[in-house]
């Protein structure tokens, strides 16, 4: 009975999210669902992307938080082309239904790239599509080597992993090779970027990937 209900919720979300995706596709808009534990650095990464690619890509962000609009304030200050805060009122993830009314308000042609910054949670968001082209998991080296093994679904559903805070590696016991290996154990062709939002290391490679992914999506516009 409980299982059936969970299944119904997931199926209903899949339908709504597929409708969201059709709308994004009609406009050739690339949508990325950015997920991580609390404090891994999602908002800081987006601030960097927005300012580094200013004048080149018009980036919008839908922020998901249980409470507060701290993140949308930061994103707006960074110069985003669109920023909207969803407060989930306790819910532990963003789903397609939460996104749909926001999409109604947006000028989809005014954007090149839309990020959905999910609630900080390495578990629940992995189960809910929002209509994205790709899921990205951001992982902080401070969380330890073993997390891809312990939270496998998140790493299975994400095509891209960003390993953040590598500037802290000299002060930690964490091993970057092990993080990569454990992630590839659950997702063999995972695309991985090692980055530091503090020193800027590795960000150019990620910006290059974003440029190419936006260009690929625009080329599919019908």
């Amino acid at each position: 009975m409980k299982v059936t209900l969970v299944q119904d919720i997931l199926d209903a979300n899949r339908r709504v999210s597929a409708a969201n995706k059709r709308r994004f596709d009609e406009h050739g808009l690339l949508v990325l669902n950015l997920m991580s534990s609390p404090g891994a650095g999602k908002t800081t990464l987006l601030e960097h992307c927005i300012s580094a690619l200013a004048g080149e890509l018009a980036i919008g962000v839908i922020e998901g938080d249980i409470q507060t609009s701290l993140d949308a304030d930061r994103i707006e200050a960074a110069g985003a082309a669109f920023a909207h805060q969803i407060n989930t009122r306790g819910a532990c993830h963003i789903d397609g239904n939460m996104i749909a009314p926001v999409v109604d308000e947006m000028d989809l042609d005014a954007l090149d790239l839309l990020f959905v910054e999910n609630v900080g949670n390495l578990v629940c968001p992995a189960e809910f599509d929002v209509g994205e082209d790709e899921k990205l998991v951001l992982f902080s080296v401070t969380e330890g080597d073993d997390k891809p093994k312990k939270y496998p679904l998140m790493f299975q559903v994400s095509g891209v992993m960003l390993v953040n805070k590598i500037d802290l590696l000299p002060h930690l016991d964490a091993d970057l090779d092990k993080i990569h290996a454990h992630a590839r154990d659950v997702h063999p062709d995972m695309r991985i970027f090692d980055i530091s939002c503090k020193t800027g290391e590795g960000l150019d490679a990620f910006y290059g990937w974003l440029r190419e992914a936006v260009a690929r999506k625009k080329a599919t516009r019908v």
Copy 2:
């Protein structure tokens, strides 16, 4: 309809958890529900407690993980008086129902202190009692100052906050005073311990609190 169902689940959990708590109370056994984001250092903290208090307190641990028994293996190796791994099969938290059959197997008189190490998640575990005397939130300084504001329920329901990895503060922008202030904004009489499981700083104060809490609970035994 959805809200009603969630309420039913929470009410049912409260009943089962109250029954668990009655059993713990009959034996004067202190039970602490340890919660945090993934990688904040829950298992490492428990390893330290078990070895530092060996010969003085018999400590048991019920480990909650979505997958793997890595944590219970570590807890057993540290010399715990009892270690049991619950794999939640995807669920994002531990609840009273998951604990109850484990309690059936345990010799409650053989323990002085039982930790329930929850799934790494700063959201969902806050909603589910397991039958504990106290909820503890472990927070890593690497997660940033603003988390108590963004995940308020976790900090509201937890009587104790352990702020971990303070050895990393010189390498971070995080501000310890702000973390304390934000936590006390949502929970004014929060008991706070600043610790480093790496250097050992602050752990003695926490061990002292554990000793006193165990003694207080034993004194209530009927």
